[in-house]
Amino acid sequence: MTDNPLTSSHSAKLLTLSQNIEKIIRGKPQEIKYVVTALLARGHILLEDNPGAGKTVLAKTLALSISEGADGINHATGGGVAFKRIQFTPDLLPMDLIGSYIFDEEKKDFVFKKGPLFTHVLLADEINRASPKVQSALLECMAENQISAGDTTFQLDKFFFTIATQNPIEMEGTYPLPAAQLDRFFMKITFGYVTEEVELDIYNNYLKIGDVKNSVKQVLTYNDVINLQQEAENVYLHQEIVKSIVKLVQGTRHHQDIALGCSTRGGIIFIKCLKAWALVNQRTYVIEDDIRALAQPVLHHRLIFRNREASRVALQQLVDIEVNRLAKLGINSKA
């Protein structure tokens, strides 16, 4: 393995993907990268922000960039991927997601009618508005990549990417995700408002931006994504970086202001994300900047802090320690 296995086609593809999304989502390159990272890490992402910040649009744009259309399920051919969107509501039932057995007149038998979960890219909108029952049904799919209906288990495609969104404002009839379920999401990112100039740009071009379907081109195929995911796994991870991750994870468990620290699964997810992030940033190795960049979106939602101040500062402190440790290391210090 060399330091530069990133073929030009790969990097070009990643670039076009980012550019493609950026056409629609203005002023949010970092967030776009996060979403792509989650995709390449074979994970799922949770977007949290006020309504109207562009969460749904982002998810849609991403899906459209790698699929031919909402229903173009033709992955065997290496074409686009399937994209489904579910609007979560309090009265949604698990079978609305999974699908259900219905009686086939011709076969005189119950056949399984697949629900919207049988897809590649799933946009789960306002996930916290659905009942826990529904939430857990979705999360099972996310974790196990399979769906159980009755006594049958249906295997999902190995490319299954969920973009969930939720509103931070407590509304009537919301069911906040419990910690165990939050843990399943590789990342949780917030959007925030865009800057003045970007907003001006958005208003000036709102027509074009609004027409997502027509302005977004498919730039990646199913196979491309699978290859890139494979590529991300091959990103080189220096032993010192691993050490720092261990220290960071351990640190969250022993920090006096953190009630619940990061789990080992969290650590593994962190590593996966780091690798994917490095790839997204056109690198084949992980550097300390990656830890700095990913600690918040990957780890923060896994921790329970004792107070607001700690929620703001504690993780950052731990990251600072590790970044400084790494910055001071010599070049040859391999464990």
């Binding site: 060399t2 080189y236 010192e240 190795y285 300390e288 950052q316 600072d320 320690i321 910055a327």
Partner: protein
Amino acid sequence: MIQQAIMRDRIMQLLIRWVFVVLPTVVIGYITLRFINFSYTAFTEGIPVQTLYFAAGLLLAYSLYFFRARWIVTFAGLWLAYWIAERIIVKLPGEFDVFYATAKFQLYSALFLFGWLFGFLLVRVKYSYIILFGVLAVTTLVAISNTIDISLTYMLLHLVPVVVYGLYMLFLSPLLTETLEMDLKKSGRLLLRFSLFLILVVLAFVFVERIFKKDLQAVEKELAARGAKENKEGSEKMDGEYDERFGLMEKRPDGKDDGYRLKDTMKINSKMSQSDRLMFCSKLNNYFPDGNPKPLYFVYHYLTKYDPVRETFIRDVAVPFFDEFNADPSELAMYHAKEDSSVIRNSLAKKKRVVVEAEVYLASSTWKHSLLAPASAFYCQTIPVEKDFQKTFISAYKIKSYASELNNAYFVYNPSSNPMLEAYQEERFEELRNVNGYRNVDSTFYSYYTELPSGPLYDSISKLSYTLTKNVTRPVDKVIAVRDHFLQRDEDGKRIFRYTLKPGGVDDPNIPNASMLDNFLFKTHAGYCTYYAGASLLMLRALGIPSRFTTGFATINRSDKNKGWYWFYASQAHAWTQVYFPGYGWLDFDMTIGNEEQQGAPRPDGTPPLPPPQPWLVLNAKAVSAPDLKRKRLDVSFTNIIYFDEAYQLNKSFERPIDASICRILYDKKDTTLSAIQPGDSVIVVSYKDEAKVILPPRRGVPIESQVAAFPVPIIADEIHIKPKEKTKKEDAVTKKNTTKEENGMTWQEILMLAGKITGTMILLIFLLPLFYLIYLTLRSRFTTNPKSKADSVYRSALYQFHMAGVERTNETPLDYARTKIDPVFHAGFEQFMHIYLRLKYGVGTFLPGDTDTISRFAGGFGPAVRKTKGFFTLAMNYFNILLASRYFTQSEKNEQENQLPL
């Protein structure tokens, strides 16, 4: 609401500053005041009360100025308060001692004002702690230097609080400029950092100590000697009788300074005269033909010149036929001698001349530099004090001096009741009647010794003397007439002149001036020796008889038990007149009359010290190597020897081993061990005449070198005296030229200079540390060949140099730092380098084409880029900013506590 919150916050800040700034300052103020109290007695109340005033001023000023009080207004208010308070105190009714109250008030208002100023400076002036540190350090040093019992440890220990305070403030000051938000954890960390810093300082100190080890040891030795000495003095001082006496003979009579110095002149007053402190003892080899001891007065100084301004006699340099022997026994090496033949020539005595030998044992260290000898000494040799007597006598020397047969203590004294002595006296006067006048005397000499200004004061004295001597012509008769004037009695048979220690109720330690003498001669008729000597001198000079004022010691023969031994107590300090008779030289005349009212109980003589063993060989040698401590051997080389009391200068240098197994080692007259000798030290090796040794007596006609070559090997030594280093000797020589204040070895100024040098070097070293680190990094990056290591060292060097250029990496990753902070400012291509560096660091580590070029381009380019942007001067100054540098090394700690930024 917001106003209140701000106010509350502000008050919190003030409280924090009280704890962190005001409290330490009060503590250091207390410590400094303690030192001042040790040295000065101006303060009457206890130290806590003083500190209270200081603290009150400090606290008030600090709080006021913290809330942005106007300084003009406050200072004016302060002055007004002071003025009003003073008015009130002055007007206070009766029973108050106004003077006392005012003085006390002023003292404490001064303290208060000091505190106030400190507070003002601390709040308003950015680097005020440097000023405070300076003030405190100087105060402490001054206070310390006044202490008698001083040692290096003492000095350092007392300076430590001030230094710690200075460092503490240095450390705290950057935090004070910002809002200082303190909690328990942070202050703990602060403490930790501060102690780390202290450790650094201690390390630097250890380093410096190693560099200056030799010098320091010299100081230590010197101080040890001094300390012991001064301790001894201190304990004797406890008797509380006459501490002022220590200044008596502090300075050497080398006559290089013609100014009037209080300490040069004999301070003879009641305290001195009543003291029974032993000053010295002497064995004087001067006997009558019948074997009875013939005592002589011991001379210390001559006061020859009349100073019309001060109306008194002072010492002088430009003396015609100067016959004072200029020798400092403490400067002579053991058994070494100094001889001055000019004294013989200048003594101007041809008739009745004898050479008198004497051994003088000094009891007090203040006599170290003085030469006490009967009449005109011309030879001085240092001799050791026998061991059992070293507690009583600190040093000893042998002298030879000139005396006249006519001169002896019995003669110079007033007519005593002893008829035999009066006969002697008459015989002496008869002899001197041969002198008719001063016609053939050198005119310069004559006019010098008879010089007296004119004026009503002197005219009356001169008139009196002419009246007294109108019937006689010969000088000696005139002298006797003057003496008789003091001895005359009134009708009731009572003496007109009285001896009193308190003439006129004023206890003046100085030589009385002309008006006082006039008063003494014509009104009070009461005084002690200096009055009699001074008055007779004025009278004799008025009569044209060359005479001088002599200070020294009256010699009293108390018992016949130890013939030739004389004991000198402080009460024997005396002043008398010497009169010149052509052909006979200077003769003593003592005009002081006895005290009829009071007779002191005679003091018994002590036990005379045993004579020290006679050496057969004294080597003025140099230690060639370090002593062999196991075999007790020492190799020395020498060219100067004293062999059977004869000094030789050898024409070549000899090297001989010394057997030191039965030897005493001394440094500055204090016992030490053989290990104290270092190669290159000058040593005096003494070997006694001893039955057990093989001693070759000197052979006539044989060259000394071949005799030395035949000396037994090894030479068995009985004493080795270590001389202070050559360097200090040289410095001494320099000071000798410039000033009259001299001491053996190092003076206080030198020690202070050394202390200053050491501190300076230490501070310099600390401030140079950042530069050293830069040099280390630069050299490392320059000379690393392995490309990976090179990238690494370039990275480190760059990080450090950018930091020292003032752009500090706070929380960023190095790449962010390069991108957001460095490149926009310096345009050094740091980011480009960082990409390569990070790939090498965290990647698999293969080089791509062009990497090495980029690295070396960056390595060569970032230094100039930094210099260009920041300017050489600013950059250079930054490297002396120890705080900036220390932040580079303590970065992670800082991140831990200071990161308050949201993500």
